[in-house]
Symmetry: C2
Subunit: 258 residues, 2 copies
Amino acid sequence: MIRLRWWTTAVVCLAAFPGVSWAQPDRDVLYQTSTLGALMIGIYDGPVTFGQLRQHGDFGLGTFNGLNGEMIALDGKFYQITADGIAHEVKDSTCTPFAAVTFFDRDHTAPIEGERSFTQLTEHLGGLLPTENVFYAIRIDGTFSYVKTRSVPKQERPYPKLVDVIANQPTFEWRDVKGTLVGFRCPDYVRGVNVAGYHFHFIDDARTKGGHVLECRLRGGTVTTDLTRELLLALPESEDFDRAALENDDEQATHHPE
Amino acid sequence: MIRLRWWTTAVVCLAAFPGVSWAQPDRDVLYQTSTLGALMIGIYDGPVTFGQLRQHGDFGLGTFNGLNGEMIALDGKFYQITADGIAHEVKDSTCTPFAAVTFFDRDHTAPIEGERSFTQLTEHLGGLLPTENVFYAIRIDGTFSYVKTRSVPKQERPYPKLVDVIANQPTFEWRDVKGTLVGFRCPDYVRGVNVAGYHFHFIDDARTKGGHVLECRLRGGTVTTDLTRELLLALPESEDFDRAALENDDEQATHHPE
């Protein structure tokens, strides 16, 4: 019997696969399943599970099959904000028709002082971010004197358009609540693919409630940003998606409700 | 000394890196550096080398720093069509400001019979491709009774817009030439990012001449397609790119000259 020293075999083992990537999954990629345009016109079911999605990130936004609530991913945990505004942890077997995630690695942190509305907050962020032409994952941990969110109720086929769903969306208001805004800023040129500009979901510190942010007043907190230059757009293997009459409709993209 | 059987070590070696990807580079991804919008407004220099680009594909389109000609990648070889219409092999150290490549793996092949103009050819392709909502790499090998291409001459800073460069573009006409159309069809919703619809470059069988296709008459040939559902948009690490005043200008996207 030939006896090889263990490290010899290890070296051979490593060298024998020249095409193999030894890198960890690339963390600095914004991964997205499906497109905003598809969601807008009612493509509410997709084949991607949260078990698959979490391979691509620990931070992000999205929704669930049947448009069953708002998704928020934070610190590696995935939450479903159902139509009552309540947060539930998501099972790996649950599926999503639209979601965007990344591994959140801090590039910059800055305190935010003084009370700011949602508009004032995004204007402030605009001054912090170095270029308009790339993607940012953004988390804002703080104390909010006011937060208004919405969620969306599960839909039944035939699915209405998203704009019609949110015409009757349940909204929630909280005062003096600690929590986190989780979101992205995407460049204008990807409208139709994702939300151009800022898009935030909220979850409270206790991870019990939240939703898609409609308005807020941040009393003070910390903003942390993760700049990424890579977008991996993964289109679902789905007859619904393939048959969808997608359009790069400026109206829909500019007045995005998701 | 502890003696381990070689296969024990190999198993340990394989099992010890749970985060390691054993997959080959994902071949079914359309990889793109920079955006069409950036190229349109004169971002003609980028940091990506062809040595890097070929890690992401063996088939595709693009241009060169300084807008120095049309790029065509076919069967793993990268060619530069200079402003005289002549094809040159590209060095790995050369850089590109805009390119899109994939590993071409045949999904479908079909003969194309009967003479067809470029418009008739793309209409014919439209009937072959199963959905408008995904990406296709397309190669058409055949005999052309006529091909008209253009290339672009190297530019000097300050760079003019692409639309102004091609107002004076050199064009080339060939008759009774065998060669290959290399291109992509991208869905409408990515306009601003890449060319919405069809975009082809041509190279002759001898790999001596070609360019960006303006018109052709295909006498007969074969179309081979590679459907992909993933787009990896990689934005360049470049001050030029970061400072660019990018807009999702429908006019520019619809009347794309690249």
